[in-house]
Subunit: 693 residues, 2 copies
């Protein structure tokens, strides 16, 4: 998963418009669109066909993307394609430096482990999931019952539909919807600009506006070795969007915390965000040092660096929001209001009243093992070596496959295995130097975080220094060989038990502690959250109505709002930038990295119309994961490509405001202008515009 837009530098004073009818708030479910607000405010009524077409024209591919031609052409961000671009590069040919364009189908290159899923159907299965919980069950047992029900629903749906089936937890547990996806695994690279054009201004200008980024990347979905034929694709707008025009964003926002209780937000503020940032600061410095040692180091660590820098900036913003008393006060007032409504009636109090305290107790408990669990488990584990991830998946998969499907850890259930195996058997290059750096740093982190004499540290280090241990594990492992991985997987638990690969033994040695902590989280925290948030959401529905949206879950959502500038430090920030601005910015920053003009852009300056709109801003409600989402007009035509939010939008993780916060997109007109006149990509332009550009 890649999240460019993750989360909030709040301007010193932000007038929050929580729940205000003026604000175009919401990441709406496609089966529960903001029909009332759109009609009342914009006189627009989305038809079921309009919604279905958008739904089936969008896909999830690491982050968000859309199908933009009848022949399976897919548009997303360069930074979403970054991982594939890096995997397709070599020391001799670095696609991030050179860019790429396949002028013919034959030149399109298959990505090692990229897949795309298109949402095909949605069904409410809340009753089936919550019905599995029997009165009197402990939270842990209730959690297990829910997970079992979910696995069974998914497996049955997989079998019945042949589609990848996924039960999505909405409102943190008040609703469960079954999403069925068409999944494509043959994805080929069509076009990418050089990174310096896609990410002009670098970390410096990330989450800033005005911007001048051609943050696009084109892929093509293949089926049976042929380009996908599809009626569901987005057409290109001839004129782009105008100032104040209503726009829509359809994409996959990753995660928000808007429904969190105040206590949960404090956990986020005092525990989770500081912990994540501490690791990011550390990684950023370590990776900068590693990269500075050689050109090749810089090349292979580029993706890690981009990801870390981006997350650091995003989470800094979220934390700033959480530390802003105005934001927290608003959250407290909202909670106070709801709790007063609950407490005003003995029945309501009995039904919902204990939810807040249960959550508070669960998070107080979670504070005692959060750091340890995070170090070992989940996507923020410090053990982020590719070989280690492979080893852990092999070790766990062998164990899990022995269990009935509905009792497995979710990522090893039958409906998830295809995705897992695509990753596991990816032929993407793995670099010893970077692996050693990642693992050595992670092992050192264990020692720092838990102490040199902690059993976890001593088990992990096995009497070596972190660096020596990392070298031993990486250089001694045969897991770079995909055939070896497959053979091990085929051999099941017996093969794992008798395998002397050091990385396998390492993964096996720390797995019990990792599993123990995950189980504690699921039993003592997640289960409580599901039940308590279900109560809170029900109380909210009962008191405020159900015309609302759930927190983001990395599933398809619809947002809306006009193209609109804003006022900052007393000055008007215009909604559109033009190509001319990019050349001016380069000049103003002495052409020094990250403000150097890419060679091609310097050379083709005369060919470009300087006043064509390049990037623009609008108010639709987005978050990290929305990167690559199309911006469409009322006709469902592409007018832009979301690639960022501004600094003031980082607070959107916890609260929406549209005073200054904005979604940032590449303008469809600038995109075509650059493809034509900088990249000479006529065939691609014709495919996008139906030959009408």
């Amino acid at each position: 998963m890649r999240f460019r837009i993750q989360s909030a530098m709040v301007a010193a004073v932000v007038a929050f418009a929580f729940g205000s009818s003026r604000a175009d708030e919401g990441m709406w479910l496609l089966n529960k669109p903001p029909a009332k607000a759109l009609k009342e405010k914009y006189g627009f009524e989305p038809t079921p066909e309009w919604l279905e077409h958008l739904q089936k024209s969008c896909c999830r591919m690491g982050a968000s993307a859309s199908i933009v031609s009848p022949e399976g052409l897919v548009m997303t961000n360069h930074h979403v394609g970054h991982d594939s671009l890096e995997k397709l590069s070599t020391p001799e040919k670095d696609l991030l430096k050179t860019g790429f364009y396949a002028r013919t189908r034959g030149e399109e290159v298959k990505c090692p482990d990229l897949d795309a899923v298109v949402l095909w159907s949605i069904e409410d299965v809340t009753d089936k999931v919550t019905g599995a919980v029997k009165p009197g069950m402990s939270p842990a047992d209730a959690g297990a019952a829910r997970r079992k029900a979910i696995a069974e629903i998914e497996a049955a749906s997989d079998k019945a539909t042949g589609l990848k089936s996924e039960v999505v937890t909405l409102y943190h547990g008040a609703r469960y919807h079954l999403y069925c996806y068409k999944r494509f695994t043959d994805i080929r690279l069509v076009m990418a600009p050089e990174e310096q054009a896609a990410f002009f201004g670098g970390d410096n200008d990330n989450f800033e506006y005005p911007r001048y980024n051609l943050d696009c990347c084109f892929f093509r979905i293949y089926e049976n070795d042929k380009p996908l034929k599809t009626e569901h694709y987005l057409k290109w707008s001839k004129n782009g969007a105008a100032d104040n025009e209503l726009t829509f964003v359809v994409g996959h926002p990753g995660r928000t915390q808007r429904l969190y209780t105040v206590d949960h937000l404090k956990f986020l503020r005092d525990v989770e965000m500081p912990s994540i940032l501490r690791k990011l600061w550390r990684r950023e410095v370590e990776l900068a040092g590693f990269s500075s040692r050689s050109d090749e180091n810089a090349r292979i660590a580029n993706g890690d660096r981009r990801s870390v820098e981006n997350s650091r900036k995003a989470f800094t913003g979220v934390l700033a929001g959480l530390n802003d008393p105005a934001v927290m006060k608003q959250k407290m007032d909202e909670e106070k209001k709801l709790r007063a409504w609950v407490d005003a009636d003995p029945e309501r109090k009995k039904e919902y009243g204990d939810a807040w305290d249960k959550l508070a107790d669960a998070h107080a408990n979670y504070r005692t093992f959060y750091e340890r669990q995070m170090a070992l488990d989940g996507r923020r584990s410090v053990l982020r070596s590719d070989l280690m991830k492979i080893a852990r998946n092999l070790v766990r998969m062998a164990d899990e496959k022995q269990k009935p499907n509905s009792e497995r850890l979710h990522e090893y259930t039958d409906s998830e295995l295809a995705e897992l195996e695509q990753d596991l058997y990816s032929p993407a290059p793995i670099y010893d130097a970077l692996e050693i750096e990642r693992l050595g740093d992670g092992l050192s982190f264990f020692a720092e975080q838990f102490g040199g004499d902690d059993p976890l540290t001593t088990t992990a280090l096995a009497g070596k220094s972190p660096k020596a241990r990392a070298e031993e594990l990486v250089r001694g492992s045969k897991l770079k060989d995909v055939a070896f991985r497959k053979k091990l997987a085929a051999g099941g638990t017996a093969a794992i038990a008798s395998c002397d690969d050091p990385m396998i033994r390492f993964a096996a040695a720390i797995d019990p502690e990792s599993r123990r902590l995950r189980k504690r989280f699921e039993d003592e925290v997640e289960s409580v959250e599901r039940a308590a948030y279900a109560k809170i959401a029900k109380a909210k529905f009962a008191s405020e109505g159900e015309d609302t949206y759930p927190d983001a879950t990395f599933t398809l959502r619809l947002s809306y709002g006009p193209v609109r500038g804003y006022i900052e430090d007393g000055k008007q920030v215009k909604p559109f930038t033009e190509f001319a601005g990019m050349y001016e910015r380069a000049k103003e920053r002495h052409g020094e990295y990250p403000f150097n003009m890419p060679e091609r852009w310097a050379a083709k300056k005369d060919k470009l119309k300087m006043d064509v709109p390049f990037n623009f801003i609008c108010t639709p409600d987005i978050i990290g994961g929305n990167s690559g989402s199309p911006v469409v007009n009322k006709q469902g035509e592409v007018v832009g490509l979301v690639f960022d939010g501004n600094m003031q939008g980082l607070v959107w993780d916890i609260a929406y405001t549209d005073d200054q916060a904005r979604c940032v997109a590449v303008d469809s007109r600038g995109l075509i202008e650059a493809l034509k006149n900088v990249y000479d990509a006529g065939p691609l332009v014709n495919e996008l515009t139906g030959g009408k550009s």
Copy 2:
């Protein structure tokens, strides 16, 4: 204080030579030189005159320095002079970019707050200090009694000698020596190269070898507005040092932990180093972001960045050493041996036996409040804004001056006040933007570290966000005005109490908690350390003899050892580099920062003899604080200027080894060659060489 060389990347396998007679280990006291080893190994007998001359030719000036002409010319490192160079710069004239050379005395510029002290006499006052402790006193009372005795000794000596008097705690409490210094406060800048020549290769090559750095800076001591006349100065060697020639380093190593117990080292490994590094990683990323915003931001934050990058690399090395099982095992073996010797005799056991457990208990207790104390107090406080430091000193000074001298916090005793006031009334520029960045970051750290609802956080933030609070404090304060500071100081506690300057009120609001934690440290940790280490040192003296050196204390020490290369990854690293190597390194790294040749050096290439030695390595035992130390030969003539240690030398904080670890110096010949032919500094060269170059 500036510590360039602070602390150890241990090579995967290092054969430690603890206590081995082969190793030229030790930072020896000038009144207790390594006479036996020098005579036995090198046939050299330092005379009292030789020692006295070196002692009185060296000075402490932030780090280390030496007097190198009869007219008070002082030589140190560029990075030691960095603070003054920054303070003398303006947006229009950045001395770090341009360099500086005063061709005549009249052009020499006074530094705003630089002072230099020369060690004039040493007296053992152990009995007076330890005699103040009466049997049966609690550790806290014993600590107070020692501190009181020290303040009285210093005050009496100040009065009797007119010299700045300082009681130095040696062997962590086994010995107390009274050092009397001549102090000079009129220090003027004579010559500095541009930073790019002084720090060619930047953070990249810092703590690496081979190196090509002209890391020098020249000042002049003035007395009564005239250059200091002195008979004690170091002469310049005509020929420099040869490979394998014995050399000496005389300087001020800051702090080592070689005598620490294993338990104390674990405190360092598990608590102190990780804590320091977490703050450094954070600062490094924050400062990079701040600097990237504008050229002026980059200029004013340069010193902070250099300092943070340097410390981060140094402490990473120390932590790697602590996490190296070979290092820790050696320490355990040594301790086991000593404790076995103690336990072997009931008398010894009674006298020394409880020291280790007392220390272990004290450090277990210290773990519970270390983070909080460090956030508020001491030189690593996160509140590193200049205005905040000024405010705190004003608040505390008012309180402390009301107490008898011997009961004050040490930095407010009469013998320290002159130095404190020089800092306090410094006219050096203070920049709002950087102050807000520093303070905002520190306040955010409070919230992350202690939680948003912690009383310390809420007191510090006063209902604002960290950034808004920092802006309010900085922009609202009048403390940039030196006259205002003096007026406040003159008004004592009444003036402070009635002062509505927001920074003063802020400092006053958090001072009680800061003082409370400092007192806990002094009573519960430091006092125990003093008593316990005194016992351990006595046991060591009794079992191993007293021919040894104490841990570094930022006081004058003598180290020795030959010029010598080493073998790394099977290759010979030669002891000397030449100018040619610098030009080659720039080429190999595409001339990109930090490997760009300074303009002047590119232009003057033809004037330079390419084969003149530029930097060299030798084995004398140094640590951070030694930056700027002269390297001298047996005749006491300058053959080099210490500016760094290599990566393998970072472990010297905790243990000396000379397999690969080296002290890195500018060669006296390269220095003269560059001054003459790149900087056209004939008069300076003549002064250094007595006209004999």
